[in-house]
Structures are given as structure tokens and as C-alpha cells.
Symmetry: C2
Subunit: 331 residues, 2 copies
């Protein structure tokens, strides 16, 4: 086993941008051990004044949209400008496959070898809610390590997009120009969160279809209520193969940032996100403490039986368990 | 103020099917007073053996689909067969308008005068989660009062459908035959919950379009994974004006019931629903107790300020509040 670092060693290493120590700090954050958790929080709290300076960018799209190829091309575009970028994934499927390191390294081959880029897959074996907290903390560590753009990607089919939307400044939705089914593949709620919709694979004779899709999406986005930030969602076409439109996407992200920093919404949004994070964590912890309480674990199955057999009113059963829980923490 | 009834008076009145006492029992359930809540639970617990015998039916559809007209026609169809029916609403909009009694009575005029029908609007002024628990309890009261079909309706645009799906035996989705946008108006997730999709307003020259929509929906429903119950979602067309298809819908509901009672899934589903209800209530109560704790209420705003100003890590702030909460219930 590797020697455990001290708080100061983690802090100094991360602030220097030492990737090996950054990786070990992220592993510390992902640890389920209580001592590791406490140390991780100390490290983060110390690093807090050095966080918040990156462009926090969420990218989502259904499988097949060319998300990895896009992130690779987009990422290289930024590293070519000398920007340090980090790519983090919130991937519920990795909960099943127990980690997707191989997948991430393989699918973004060039970017993963780029010294200015840092790619970190989802932590495996914990709940989606847990992954979300770890990803937020990892984002803070990457910021403290000097990364200027943090890309958080999801698969665009589940609940995780809402989580990502709650931790980024800008939400980019990748879509394919399809045959009449432009709005079908993705949940409507995800579309509403997008600051920019980019139609991918606008190349190889697909350009006209992509432009038509652009018009459809622009019309569709007009149906959604304005977000209050003063920003109206844009639609662009792009191609990772011909590199078309990639720079426009980056410029749109910067324009959005400039507008929202000017009108103050950028800071309001970040503050609200921090608050929401705290409250999410409170709710999650309250539930964990209840269900992991030894007395609850001992009684739960018999109470559950009484409820499923219709002998006990679910709400009354719940109240009895809650009383037991409160008694057990009193004693 | 009206004299408060005793537990035995509520129980006896509900079991007799006395509507005035049923209404007062529902009001008791909706009360936010602790003494009322405790009495309500006693009443429900006593009535529990008399519940569970109704057809629990969820009906949803976007505004404009003709939901009220459908429920009125469908409800009359059942009361004409001598069946006692209750219509309950989970209506998030009533949280804003503070009750929709007038609306409900107006929009189902004939049904609301039918002695075999009982219509009760959403309780106002409480959260959607709260409404859900109250609606479940109201459903149990109505069952104890001898209602044979309980219709729980929602508006088909929000989160409430998932709640309704979690408390009914059969989920009916009403859809309009539209011009090419058959799948657009409603969230995809709602479609997946449907046991039956009924295309409304198949009349006045709209019949062909309705039949075409039927085929589209049948194709779409095939894309969803099977539910495990052995039931494959059906699509029917109907008209509240010409009364076409109304009886087919009822027969489909009964066929579904027969199949699922034979293969046992009906009972498995009800048991799982009871369990989920208990756990939902536990989570909701844990949060309520935390946020209503006087010490938390006193400290919350200063901790929130520290978090929004970036002076405190959200997770650390959460843990400090949780520690304060636990200390306050110890003492």
C-alpha cells in the first residue's frame, strides 16, 4: 500500500498542478473510509479559495451522437490554444460495469495523451447521488490544480443531466440531424436545460440535413420559456471530422459567460448551485443515517412485511420506524 | 366551528358510506394540525381491513385532450351500471390557485350531481409530496366507504404522474390525434407508464386521423421494454360525444385486472406500492424534521450565506448543520 499523504502534501501537490497527487487526491475523495472522507474535506476546505475560476461546461448527448469524438476535437482545439482542460464523466452505466477507465482512455485516445488534458472516469460502485457529490468535489480539485475548462459529460438519457446542469455554467446538448425525429431521442426536459444545441456530424453530404435540423431546433427552443439569465439558447452545426463549427461553439460559450458575468446572473447561478449542493447532501445524509442505523436495519424487514401484507398502514409504519430511529440516537 | 367527531364516529360514518362524514374524514386527513393527524391515522388504521377492494385507476393527459369530458362520460358509463365511483385529483396547479373546487365542480357538472359519484379536488397549500400522501389516504377512505372505482387524475405535464402511477392498478393515458406530433405533447416517461393509450375526440370527421394515430402509438409502444406484468399496453380510440369506445376502455381495464390477478402481479404491485409509500414518507419526514428544527432554522441563513459567498464548502456546511441537528435532538 502506498504511503498516505498528509493534508499539506495533498494541498501543495494539487496547487502545483502535480497530476499524480491530483489523481491521488481524487481517489481520496472517492474513498468510502471515514478517515479518508474527513481528510478529503480538510484538503478541499483549504483549497476552496483557489477554486471557481474555470469554465464549467456540461456536455450531453445520446449514444451515437459522437460525444467522445466531439469532446476529443473540442478538447484539442482548447489545448492547442494552451488551455488546460479536465474531462470528468457522470456515467450511471459505469455503476454497472464497475468503472469505465479503459473505455474513457480508448475513446479519447489523442486527448488522453495530451499533457494539457486530464481525463477522469466516474467513480464506480456508488449511487448516482454519490457520484454527483464526488464529481463536484473533483471539479474543485481540478480548478485548484489550475485547469481552466472543466468538461463534465453525461449520456443524455437519464437523471444525471439534471445533476450536471446543477454544477456547470454552460450546458451543451449534442444532437444528430435525424430523419424527422429531431426531438425524439432526448428527453424534453434536457432540451430545456440547453444553453447551446450543437448538431454533430455536419459533414460527408450531411450538411443540408444538419442545417434543416438547426432550423427545427431553433423553432423548438422558442417554445420554451426564457431562462431569466437573459441568454437565449443557440443552435449551431459542427463536424469533428472537418473541424467545422468547433471554434464557433467555444466562442458561444465565451459570449454566454461575458453576458452573464455582466448582468450578474453568472454569480447568482453559482451561489444557487452551492446552496443546492448543500441541501442535496443534507437530504442524502439524513437518509443514509436512517437506513444504516443498526436498530432500523434490525426492524426494517418485519415492518416491511406488515406493510406489504396490508396489516399496517404505511404511514404508521414509517412513523414507528422514525420513533425507533430517534430513540436510538438519543441513547 | 363544527363539533369534532370521535374516531368511532368517523369509522362508522365512513363504513356506512355517509358522504358528509367521508368528506369530514378527508378534511381531517388534509389537516396540518398534529392532533388531527394523529386522529386521522387512528381512523385509517381501523379502516385498513376494509380497503383495497376498488379498481384504482390513474388517468392523465395534457390540457386540451378532453380529460374532464372523458372522465365525466366514463364515470357516467360506470354509474349507469350501478357502480360507485370516486374522482380524486393530483393537481400541482391547485397549489398555486389554492384549491380548484369550483373548477372541478364546473368541469364535471353532470357527474358531480350523480349520487353514485364522489368528486374531491386536490388539497391546496401543501407540497406535491404532501398531496400524494393525502391522496393515497383519501383513496383508502373512499374504498372503506364502498367506492368501487377510484379515478385519480393528473395533468400529464409534470412529476405527479410518477406519483399517481405509484398508487394505481392501471394507468390510462389520454392523447389527441395531432398533426404529426403524436409523441411530442407528453413526456416520454409518461408514455412508458401507460397500460392503455386512448385517443380522444375520435368523432366529427376526426375518425381517420384517430385511427392513424392509433397505429403510430402502437408502433411507439412496441419500442418500450415489456413491464414484467405480462400485459402489453393497448391503444384504443374513443369519443366522449358519440360515446364510442368508452365501454371498450372499461373492458380493457377489467381484462388487465383479470390477467394480473391470475398471474399474481396485481398483488405484487400493490405490495411494492405500499412499501414505496412507507419509504417516501420516511424520506419526506426526515427532511421536514430537519428543516423545521428550531436550531436549524436559527442557524440556516448564516450557514447559507457562508456557502453562497464561497467561504464554506457546501458538504462541510451540511455536516455542521447535521451535527447541530443531532445534538439538538439529544438534549
Amino acid at each position: 500500500m502506498r504511503k498516505r499523504l498528509s493534508k499539506d502534501e495533498y494541498v501543495a501537490g494539487v496547487l502545483e498542478g502535480n497530476r499524480m497527487i491530483l489523481s491521488r487526491a481524487i481517489t481520496l475523495i472517492e474513498s468510502q473510509l471515514d478517515t479518508d472522507k474527513a481528510l478529503a474535506r480538510e484538503v478541499l476546505e483549504t483549497l476552496l479559495p483557489h477554486t471557481g475560476n474555470s469554465v464549467r461546461l456540461g456536455i450531453t448527448g445520446v449514444p451515437g451522437v459522437g460525444k467522445s469524438t466531439f469532446i476529443e476535437t473540442f478538447g484539442k482545439h482548447l489545448t492547442n490554444q494552451g488551455k488546460k482542460i479536465a474531462v470528468l464523466a457522470i456515467d450511471p452505466s459505469s455503476q454497472i460495469s464497475k468503472g469505465s477507465i479503459l473505455g474513457d482512455k480508448t475513446r479519447m485516445e489523442e486527448l488522453s495523451r495530451d499533457p494539457l488534458a486530464y481525463i477522469r472516469p466516474s467513480p464506480a460502485g456508488i449511487s448516482l447521488g454519490g457520484v454527483t457529490h464526488k464529481t463536484r468535489e473533483t471539479m474543485l480539485l481540478c480548478e485548484a490544480a489550475g485547469f481552466e475548462v472543466i468538461i463534465i459529460e453525461t449520456v443524455g438519457v437519464g437523471q444525471s443531466e439534471t445533476f450536471v446542469h446543477g454544477m456547470v455554467d454552460f450546458f451543451l446538448l449534442l444532437m444528430l440531424a435525424g430523419a424527422g425525429d429531431e426531438l425524439q431521442g432526448i428527453k424534453k426536459g434536457i432540451m430545456e436545460m440547453a444553453d447551446l444545441v450543437a448538431i454533430t456530424k455536419a459533414d460527408s453530404g450531411n450538411e443540408l440535413q444538419a442545417r434543416q435540423a438547426k432550423v427545427s431546433y431553433e423553432n423548438a427552443l422558442h417554445l420554451f420559456p426564457a431562462s431569466g439569465s437573459g441568454w437565449y439558447p443557440k443552435v449551431l452545426t459542427c463536424s469533428a471530422v472537418t473541424q467545422t463549427g468547433i471554434d464557433d461553439i467555444w466562442k458561444t460559450i465565451l459570449a454566454h459567460r461575458e453576458l452573464l458575468q455582466q448582468n450578474g446572473y453568472f454569480f447568482i447561478n453559482r451561489k444557487q448551485q452551492n446552496l443546492a449542493w448543500m441541501h442535496d447532501f443534507i437530504k442524502q445524509t439524513l437518509e443514509e443515517r436512517f437506513y444504516q442505523n443498526p436498530q432500523i436495519q434490525q426492524e426494517l424487514s418485519s415492518v416491511e412485511s406488515a406493510v406489504t401484507e396490508g396489516k399496517k398502514l404505511p404511514i404508521k409504519a414509517a412513523l414507528e420506524l422514525l420513533r425507533l430511529f430517534e430513540k436510538s440516537i438519543h441513547s
